[in-house]
């Protein structure tokens, strides 16, 4: 999961080397925290959050079935 988010974010931003993804695992959920360069925030959020929404949809689809719920959070 972490690798997928890193890959997607790096493809979208201007500073791929500043992409950081950390994974926090809870009992029922996995939280993926995505950090990018401040100037790249718009790139991973998009107009009206469209990019962020698409990212979440892909992450959700890739999550193992019946397992924990996966949340993607973009941290400023």
């Amino acid at each position: 999961m972490k690798e997928l988010v890193t890959y997607l974010a790096q493809a979208l931003v201007d500073h791929p080397d500043e992409v950081r993804v950390s994974q926090v695992e809870g009992e029922k959920s996995i939280i993926l925290e995505l950090r990018v360069a401040p100037s790249d925030m718009g790139k991973v959020i998009g107009r009206q959050g469209r990019v962020a929404k698409a990212l979440r949809a892909v992450v959700k689809a890739a999550a193992p079935r019946g397992d924990k719920v996966v949340h993607l959070e973009i941290v400023g």
């Binding site: 997928l4 890959y7 979208l12 698409a54 949809a57 890739a62």
Partner: protein, 211 residues
């Protein structure tokens, strides 16, 4: 005409002339300086014009390559194996079709995942300079099948709207799907269609025309 050679007093002037000849912007071309030119001695002896070759980059090809590479990496990380085929249409439309197993994962409920991947592929591919490519992503013919379903649904609901003489509201759909419904009923003189509501809950309404 993909490439021109031009001369000018300076390299910049030669480039400007070449861009004009190609009708292109600077970010859409590759520039090769053949001769930086020389003002000569006191501008009199041995003056030589600057010479450049300017080649139009096929920005659509570059975008398609970027789209394919991004998509291949994405599918791999989703644990999906698929064959990717590309077909160019008119107006910079590019159809990318996926075939393989587990395409359900790629498509998702009502094509939600497919729409999300398609959106990301468009964003990534169009980071490259030049006019926008419009990439349509399909998996196992899902979009065509869905279009057929929508056309049938449109015809059925139009009939219902006419016999019951009242407006019929469809479920929320994406702009692309609404367009299919509008087009399907465009030739029907007895009904009118319009879209109502705000995204993402915007929906098609079929209204019978008064006689």
């Amino acid at each position: 005409m993909n490439s021109v050679e031009k001369t000018g007093k300076t390299v910049d002037e030669a480039i400007a002339l070449a861009l004009e000849a190609l009708g292109a912007e600077r970010e859409d071309v590759d520039i090769e300086v053949l001769d930086i030119g020389s003002k000569g001695f006191l501008g009199l002896v041995g003056a030589r014009p600057a010479r450049v070759r300017v080649t139009l980059r096929n920005s659509l090809d570059e975008k398609i390559e970027a789209a394919k590479a991004f998509l291949a990496g994405l599918l791999e990380r989703m644990g999906v194996q698929a064959e990717i085929s590309v077909e160019e249409g008119e107006d910079r439309l590019v159809y990318i079709r996926l075939t393989g197993r587990r395409m359900g994962v790629v498509i998702g409920r009502r094509g939600q995942t497919l729409d999300a991947i398609q959106y990301l592929v468009n964003v990534v591919a169009n980071k490259k300079p030049g006019p926008r490519a419009r990439i349509v992503l399909d998996a196992e013919g899902y979009r065509e099948k869905r279009a057929e379903t929508l056309r049938n649904l449109a015809a059925r609901l139009a009939k219902k709207a006419k016999t019951e003489r009242r407006k019929t509201v469809l479920e929320p759909m994406s702009a692309l799907e609404r367009r299919i419904v509008h087009l399907a009923l465009a030739d029907d003189d007895e009904v009118e269609t319009r879209s109502e509501g705000e995204e993402p809950y915007r929906r098609v309404v079929i209204v019978p025309k008064r006689r």
